[in-house]
Symmetry: C2
Subunit: 392 residues, 2 copies
């Protein structure tokens, strides 16, 4: 009971920010003295401190503001993508203390080299923290199918990884006993956007991230949709075009083959393998009125809408967040996408659905990995952190 009350308070502070004692009383339904007692324990544990509230001019003694101590209580978020590797230190309350991102080579990834890079970035990030801190956990986002153990990558085709126990491979490099959890990159994006982004405090969310591949993170009724084997959310492999291109999954006409980066370039008559730089050129040409570029974006938007329509009719997500490349493209694809949704989504569902670009941008999966790392503490604020590993 006491543990549950501690957890309610910490979770509220982490998600909603600094809160006066009076508001904690209102929010929790606990008595003033019970809240005082719980806040005292959290203060003793170093998780929060109380700061005087701004004078409001109202009579009576101002209620102190209970504030998460971000600088001394941290988790690490790690994101391993096709193009980049990133590491962030995030304080309790969601404060981003420090993050670094480093480009890496395309193509099948050497596991050891990648994880050495992660370890190097982690040292850089931790060494740059100015206050002695405690580490509560590490979350790692990977563009692949993650097993239910939250530790093993079953397959990550764009990284060339399969059946990799990522936690076992990463632990010795981090020189820390902190819990390490692995999650799918789009699931991480969905988690971050639903906690602090474009879908904040929404219980039903579809996060769609497009880059080389297209991933989906689905939250229904406040919970991540994991499915029977943990691999749910593979929206990139929703077949939508029977006569479409072959997909790297072995199928044909998948959502991913229609709305991935390569297809957009192909639609504009460009080299499909030309990469992100060519997309920037394409958008500039479109802005300048180039007919091929305009037509390519129009067609791309219709295909985005076509696949999204089915996902909305099935999931009724309330809010769809477009991340990664789809966030960049959003203003250019919005009109044809919405026209297509209006035609294909059932009216009663359409009326309750909004489509928004990611609010957290390219860091959404990185921040989501950090959020996952916080989950143990949010469930049990008495779980002890580990000392921060320091290089040298």
């Amino acid at each position: 009971m006491r543990l549950a009350n501690l957890a309610t308070i910490v979770r509220g502070l982490h998600l909603l920010g600094p809160t006066t004692r009076s508001d904690l009383v209102r929010r929790t339904g606990l008595t003033r003295s019970a809240v005082g007692d719980l806040v005292a324990e959290l203060t003793d544990r170093g998780l929060v401190h109380e700061v005087p509230s701004e004078p409001t001019g109202a009579p009576g003694r101002p209620s102190p503001v209970v504030t998460p101590r971000a600088e001394t209580n941290v988790v690490l978020g790690v994101e391993i993508m096709v193009d980049t590797v990133a590491v962030a230190a995030v304080g309790l309350g969601g404060t981003l203390l420090r993050s670094v991102r480093r480009p890496r080579e395309h193509g099948p990834a050497d596991v050891d080299r990648t994880l050495d890079d992660v370890a190097g970035l982690t040292s850089d990030v931790l060494d740059s923290l100015t206050t002695p801190s405690a580490l509560f956990g590490v979350g790692v986002a990977v563009p692949g199918l993650i097993r239910r153990d939250g530790a093993t990558v079953a397959t990550a085709p764009n990284l060339g990884w399969a059946d990799l126990h990522l936690v076992a491979a990463l632990r010795p490099r981090l020189a820390s006993d902190a819990p390490i959890s692995v999650l799918n990159e789009a699931d991480a994006g969905a988690l971050a956007e639903s906690r602090r982004g474009a879908a904040a405090r929404r219980g039903n969310v579809l996060y769609l991230s497009g880059e080389v591949g297209v991933g989906g993170g689905i939250i229904t009724g406040g919970h991540q949709l994991t499915g029977s084997t943990g691999f749910a959310g593979e929206v990139g492999h929703l077949p939508i075009r029977p006569d479409g291109d072959e997909c790297r999954c072995g199928g044909r006409g998948c959502f991913e083959t229609e709305i991935g980066e390569a297809k957009l370039l192909e639609r504009a008559g460009l080299d499909p393998a030309a990469g992100a730089g060519a997309i920037t050129d394409l958008l500039e040409r479109s802005a300048a009125g180039d007919a091929d570029a305009v037509r390519a974006l129009e067609e791309h938007g219709r295909w985005l809408g076509f696949g999204l329509s089915g996902l909305i009719n099935v999931l009724d997500p309330g809010v769809v967040v477009l991340g990664g490349l789809l966030r960049t493209l959003h203003p250019h694809l919005e009109r044809p996408m919405l026209d297509t949704l209006d035609r294909h989504v059932l009216a009663d569902i359409r009326a309750g659905t909004t489509i928004a670009p990611s609010a957290l941008g390219d860091d959404a999966p990185l921040l989501g990995a950090a959020e996952l790392a916080w989950d143990r503490t949010l469930a049990d604020p008495t779980a002890l952190p580990t000392p921060l590993p320091r290089s040298a």
Copy 2:
């Protein structure tokens, strides 16, 4: 605490059937005397009785078998479909005591006439029960979008209904204060199959029912997927064929337009409006080797597999249950459907997925409506029933 323990025991008896006291002790982790005490209360309330167990030849006194009293504790399930209306009385423990189904005319349904039919069938069913009984609730399955209130039909296109407060319309006709809940027909099918059918005790299920329209009921992590507005699961309107036929939803190339009854008849060169009788003829012609019939079923199976592939990649349901017409067609569509799944479903997800025909058959939604009606009692076995309404 006591309420939660009562609920655990009643839920177990309802879902798993008669159980010895010894097994209740094992299953609940409660002491023998606590179980005895709880069973005594349930006996006093008339929900269960104890019957001597069969002699096993083992030494010691046989443990009595705690058995739900199905005949005296009932709910009503109601199913309103395009072709038929059905009512069932189901006892605690899931025993089907009595059911009747009556054909009704195709096309837009006069609400008053339909509900009068339901009331008539309900009287027939209740009057035929031989033991004085108590009514715990009524569940109503409707092929349409049901609002989150569990009472209002937002739209049921094949019935021609929109914005109908079905509970308010039905209550005076039932002459009972019993709680009435409304749910989507495919959600009802999913509920029944996941409790007592082809997906028994599975936490992730996709139930797909095909008739005139195609409906979906989705269970993820043990919970019905309801979505943001309560309308999730509209798998019939997953667009899968950009150049396909227009759908009654206003879209084009929906899953429903590709795998509905009309399309199968059209594929075989028959009148798409010829109905269920023509399907029977088609299956007979296929069995006799008629090339058009064989080819039509082959093509239909591939489209079923194509749409299902996307749903499986997104939902990772573990088990897919085919109900309604799709159950009848299952043996004829299975091979081309599975071939298509093998090509389009990600290997790691495919390995964990089985496709099964409905075990409860045409009554799955009717039994699911009854299961919904039991839910209040399963959560709170002290909730009082209402007297059984009797005609004259």
